[in-house]
């Protein structure tokens, strides 16, 4: 059977795979990025980050060959993190997608190691949190929803793509606190985790949960189709088109913002030269018009932090999230 196979497939496969074979067989030197690990199943934010960035790098000829996307779901990024830390700490061809969600996990001690185990490359843009209800929900405004939560915390079932205590949940809790929910009542709120923003929204459309707190990018399609009503976006300023009509929480009197930046890390033992080369590659990508377009299409606001600046930012974010988590009671 195998001989039959080798006769039929090479005609199609050989040309495409020859290039890959060449890259694999070259001695290891500062090669361009050729793999991006998305620490989640296809369809979510991390997967999108890897796929769009990988594709753009190829199109802009920042890398020689296509960037392979490896989906490595598990433990909200913990599986990919421990895989890179233990197996490929010096692989300078590899980037791993991450975001505020991943950093939140680190801050709460849910990864096998801290931020120093990795080298933090850059962030390319940021997504923004939204609070949604179904289009025929009784809640017309953020005030109504938060009032109900403050009066009777267990009356509303909220859902998102992170677990209890994760970033989606923290954003919702901070709103509830801003509305006056006492700290000891937080445990009475109901929070349901789904496999992503999309499943959470469809479960809300089916009437199984009352409201969803997640990122805009993942569920933008449902907003455009009118299936859901946005009660608040968690940005400081109103968003650019086509989401300029959506009300911010700040404008409604709740001083809560919640961004979710998208960026990359690589193994902790990558040399300084390779690290700088990778940061430069990502910077060229960020500076392109194409990235601005892709970002806008997917509800991301382009935003650059790279190299040491980004590493410092990540450490600072971890401290901040640790403080918030302690305040809310996620960690002791």
């Amino acid at each position: 059977m195998s001989t039959q196979l080798t006769k039929i497939i090479p005609r199609l496969g050989a040309s495409a795979l020859l290039g890959l074979g060449l890259v694999v067989s070259l001695p290891s030197q500062a090669l361009p990025i050729d793999e991006c690990i998305a620490p989640a199943a296809p369809g979510g934010g991390w997967d999108f980050t890897c796929r769009s960035v990988g594709k753009l790098m190829r199109e802009l000829e920042l890398v020689e060959d296509s960037v392979q996307v490896t989906n490595m779901p598990g433990g909200v990024g913990a599986v990919a993190f421990s895989n890179v830390a233990s197996k490929r700490p010096d692989d300078s061809n590899l980037i791993v997608a991450t975001s505020t969600v991943g950093v939140t996990q680190i801050a709460q001690g849910r990864y096998p190691d801290g931020a120093d185990a990795m080298r933090w490359l850059a962030m390319l843009g940021t997504d923004v949190g939204v609070i949604l209800v179904d289009d025929d929900s009784p809640y017309e405004t953020l005030d109504q929803l938060l009032n109900d939560i403050v009066e009777e915390p267990s009356s509303v079932a909220m859902a998102g793509s992170s677990g209890a205590g994760g970033w989606d949940h923290i954003r919702a809790l901070r709103l509830a606190k801003a509305a006056g929910l006492p700290g000891d009542q937080i445990g009475a709120m109901r929070w349901v985790q789904f496999d992503g923003g999309g499943p959470a929204v469809t479960q809300m459309m089916g009437g199984h949960v009352d409201a969803v707190s997640t990122d805009l990018g993942e569920i933008a399609g449902f907003i455009e189709s009118g299936d859901v009503r946005v009660l608040a976006v968690l940005s400081e300023e109103p968003l650019p088109e086509p989401f300029e009509e959506l009300p911010t929480a700040v404008a409604q009197g709740y001083d809560v913002t919640g961004y979710n930046w998208r960026g990359f890390y690589t193994g902790g033992e990558v040399s300084d030269d390779d690290y700088n080369a990778m940061v430069d590659t990502l910077k060229s990508l960020y500076d392109s018009e194409e990235w601005k377009e892709v970002a806008a299409q997917n509800g991301l606001v382009p935003l650059w932090r790279g190299g040491e600046e980004f590493s410092d930012f990540v450490r600072q974010s971890i401290e901040d999230v640790e403080d918030i988590s302690r305040e809310i009671g996620v960690i002791q």
Partner: protein, 498 residues
Amino acid sequence: MDVLDFLVHGFAVALQPQHLLLAMAGCIIGTLIGALPGLGPVNGVALLIPLAFNFGLEPTAALILLVSVYYGCMYGGRISSIVLNIPGDEPAMMTTLDGYPMAQAGRGGEALGLSAVASFVGAIIATIGLTLFAPLLVKVAIRFGPAEYFALFVLAFATIGGVTSGSFTKSFIAAALGLLLGTVGIDPATSVARYTFGWYELYDGIDYIVALVGLFAVSECLLFLERDPDQATASLKVGSAVPGMRRAIACAPTIGRGSIIGFISGVLPGAGASLGSFLAYVLEKRWWGTRGRFGTGDPRGVAAPEAGNNAAAGGALIPMLSLGIPGSGTTAILLALLLSMNITPGPLLFEQQPDMVWGLVAALFIGNLMLLVLNIPLVGLFAKMLQAPAWFLMPMVTLVAFVGIFSLNNSAFDLYMMLAFGVLGYLLRKLDIPTVPVVLGLLLGGQMEFNLRRAMSISGGDWSILWSSGITIGIYAFAVSLLLAGLAYAMVIKKRLE
């Protein structure tokens, strides 16, 4: 009549010679990949994605290629199930139960032909369902919340006693073992490591493909070593596929029922093709009761799961396209493909990209027709392969499985895991404990648990949410009646034996 216009347009797109050629290539490559143990539709589609990019195919063409590979893999999976008792991937698992006994009786060609027709009909029914009812079905599917999914999984496990002809106790033991093994790994809700004993390789849980190939392929290889060498080298007769195609007419009601059950499980994201083929088989077995010879080479035991798994594969496209939610591993890969082409599946896809959607639907029709026709020469090819002496065939299958599993993650750990499951599968088969429920437990356990926990989070810890909706009560009532029917059936069999 919009839909029909679009569909005609879709066919015009899909019938372009270049697209037909791609569909044909996809079907052949898919069939061959699917037939390799360990490599299934997920790998097949994933492997071909870079190829589609490197050829610079436009989205519709790439999608036609990959959908053909998808269905080709589903088809190929059943070939090794029937001929070698080794499923190429998890939805083909149920086909081993009656397909392999048929092959042993010299009716392998018939089983292959029958399964081809059953798959074709299943896929076509699903595609028609997709064409006509997609928006309606989405409305029904979203009525399924966590409690309803949990009930659905309870139904699957309540009927598990009927999978094989062995004892009820042993089937349930196997299922419980599978469910327990399914909890290994990092718990996504709390990040607690469960039963990993410090091995980070276990963080992501036990890969069910590794378990499947170990339980079936490695254990088959170990069992083979016990055979009398003279008997072992006698090659099996396969025969032609044509009588199987005729047999399909007699099995038409079976195929119809299997397709509908499969389609429904496909439409529900989170249930998927494996549940489709499983439920189609079990319900068909119950339908015939003592009048069937399921488990010993009943053609209906091939027709039902094959129709079910292909209908489920088609049905799974509905939530993927219209909600952006992948219902199975393969639709997840297809979703990734669409996303990387800047096509975002979601509620607006049918309006914004009708070309793409209806071209895809047309590609489904054409790919399936092509597979049906390809089936006749392919059966001949596999018949020839089986005439290889056993001392070559078995090591080849073992090594292909080994390399296939290794290539998933380039991990030697997976290989040890596969060997461990091979020994487990061997022991289970010696003990007359069925292995199918172990894989089902592993496959469905995670979703079963998370839907239970989600339901409990929604209710704030009140267990009554599990039986508080009409859908859940209906499913439980159905599960109980099937369980009772199964017990009664087992008693009749026991009486007869005495």
